[in-house]
């Protein structure tokens, strides 16, 4: 186990810079999730950690050692690839023991470690099978087993669950988290699924177009997104954004599209008339007589909750209610956002106000 320091790391492919100075401190034993939309450079950063890509500038250290020029095989890192990269000509057991075999350890020791890893991952009955004879979830576990057997300084996962069906994904999510609690190995986990990020991470790093937008615990990111991108990315369904102006006439308020009045707890200083974006999460809407008028477009009950798509001041918003309402498309309701849970962003920069 080791801490990992990523300091002002940049990466260019030819003249095309994909990472523009990324700094991420990772504590020993932490489970860090890199999350962001497709193409933002998550895999690239992970591969640089593993040593599979050169570092254009900046430094990466593992423990106390700067590893910029250290070969992948000397970094003592195990990686679970998105396509698992299992060796097709080796059995599950051979796959898992391969790294130990290369290090020339005795076959007794290899067997012992492989057996133990197989037990942890419930792979014991499959040790003699070939990867072709496994299901997707089993392959995923073998890939993890290969990493566990190594007992490395750092685990790297690159979207390991993206090939699995929804149900298995949820199950494996829990398994990986459990495994981490048990082994306490520093882990960097890449995903573009914010729910995976929220549920698994000690620390989430939200990336976008080659920069870090924000990092923090899942709840910090949910409660206090630093900018509109993070606000929209974290949480499902996404936060509603309404453009308008801040109004301070004795009491702070927000004038939304077509003059809709929305409540604000307190306005930023000297901000009367300032153009801004009003952000409210679907789950923070309530039905109240003093709410803004909304016309229902679509109602989607999921059983545990009901998603309501409605128009507020001509703009579409989503609201989620846990209690059951009898809504029909075309109905007029009054939606009110809890002012203490509302977010305000600068319209031009997207920064939190």
């Amino acid at each position: 186990m080791s801490s990992v320091q990523i300091r002002d790391v940049r990466k260019s492919f030819g003249n095309f810079e994909v990472l523009h100075g990324v700094s991420i401190p990772i504590e020993d034993g932490q489970f860090v999730v890199l999350v962001g939309p497709s193409g933002c450079g998550k895999s690239t950063l992970l591969r640089m950690l593993a040593g599979l890509e050169n570092i254009t500038s900046g430094t990466i250290s593992i423990g106390d050692r700067v590893v910029n020029n250290v070969q992948p095989k000397e970094r003592d890192i195990a990686m679970v690839f998105q396509n698992y990269a299992l060796y097709p000509h080796m059995t599950v057991g051979e796959n898992m023991g391969f790294s130990m075999k290369l290090r020339g350890e005795s076959s007794d020791e290899i067997n012992k470690r492989v057996k133990r890893a197989a037990e942890i991952l419930a792979l014991s009955p499959l040790l003699d099978r070939y990867p072709r004879q496994l299901s997707g979830g089993q392959r995923q576990r073998v890939a993890m087993g290969r990493a566990i057997v190594r007992d490395p300084q750092v685990f790297l996962f690159d979207e390991p669950l993206s090939n699995l069906d929804a149900k298995l994904r949820v199950a494996m999510r829990t398994e990986i988290k459990e495994l981490h609690q048990r082994l306490k190995t520093t882990t960097v986990y890449v995903t573009h699924d914010q729910i995976e990020a929220m549920t698994m991470a000690d620390k989430i790093v939200v990336m976008h177009d080659g920069i870090v937008e924000q990092m923090g615990t899942p709840l910090e990111l949910y409660d206090k997104p630093e900018n509109q991108f993070v606000a929209g990315f974290i949480g499902s369904p996404s936060m509603n954004f309404l453009k308008g102006h801040v109004r301070v006439n004795g009491v702070a308020a927000f004038e939304g599209p077509n003059g809709v009045k929305l409540p604000l707890q307190n306005a930023p200083v000297a901000s009367d008339g300032r153009p801004a974006v009003y952000g409210v999460r679907p789950e923070h809407f309530t039905i109240a007589d003093d709410g803004a008028e909304a016309e229902i477009i679509v109602v989607e009950p999921t059983g545990s909750e009901t998603q309501v798509f409605a128009k507020v001041g001509g703009e579409q918003v989503v609201a989620i209610f846990r209690e059951r309402h009898q809504f029909n498309p075309g109905d007029k309701i009054r939606l009110k956002a809890d002012p203490s849970l509302v977010h305000l962003f600068d319209e031009a920069t997207g920064k939190r106000l």
Partner: protein, 315 residues
Amino acid sequence: MAVMAEPVVVPARRSSLWSRAFESRNFLGAMFMVPAIAILILFLAYPLALGLWLGMTDTKIGGVGRFIGFGNFVSLAKDSVFWLSVFNTIFYTVAASIVKFAIGLYLALLLNERLPFKSMVRAIVLLPFVVPTVLSAIAFWWIYDSQFSIISWVLLKAGLITRYIDFLGDPWNARWSVVAANIWRGVPFVAITLLAGLQTISPSLYEAANLDGATNLQRFRHITLPMLSPIIAVVMTFSVLMTFTDFQLIYTITRGGPINATHLMATLSFQRAITGGNLGEGAAISNAMIPFLVAAILLSFFGLQRSRWQQGGRD
């Protein structure tokens, strides 16, 4: 009704036999196979059967032969030139195939790396394969010429030898010389096919092995070689068959000389049958190649049976 029925009924009655035949799956199936079967019989089965039968007669050019059973084989068994040609063929095949495999694999690995002017280098590698065999054989014939050999000239100028090498006059020199020509001609096929095989190996396997701590050599030994083995089996079977039955190179460069030192079974067969006029004996020599070829095919058939890791299951 009657007006409409008429044109339907009349042609139906006239062609009832044909139309019924053409609606039968079996008849149609047989019809579709006729051209393929005819071609196979005419150009493969018939010559093979004729060759087998010829090998059991004492047919000479211009004469009608008698059936003499295994007479030709009995006399060949006592014929030292025949046994020399068997030895030559095996030596030629084994030596050329091993070196072709080694050089071909090396080139394939090289071409699979990031390389400047990659596509141009690949095109150049294919050149020996594109040149007509006889043309390249003639080029080799010049290269090996006892007075004009460029190799001898270069070595002499470099001070490495004192007199011209007699490439084609000495039995072992001649054998190695034709082997070298065969290698030059056969390497591109091996290299390009193995390269195609290398490119099917997922790069992430190498990355995984790299993280697992494998050195270059270990990656080759534990990833490349096993993943490539099915293609190696196909290529080498093909290469062995083509080398074993080679005729053009030898016939153009040495005609089997000096004193039969480079005669292969194919060239000896031709010499006895066509040049010497003993069609029966020539055919018998050709037929003697069959057991070797069948053995090679069987070997690869069992080698090619998909190994366990390739069978069953999904991707």
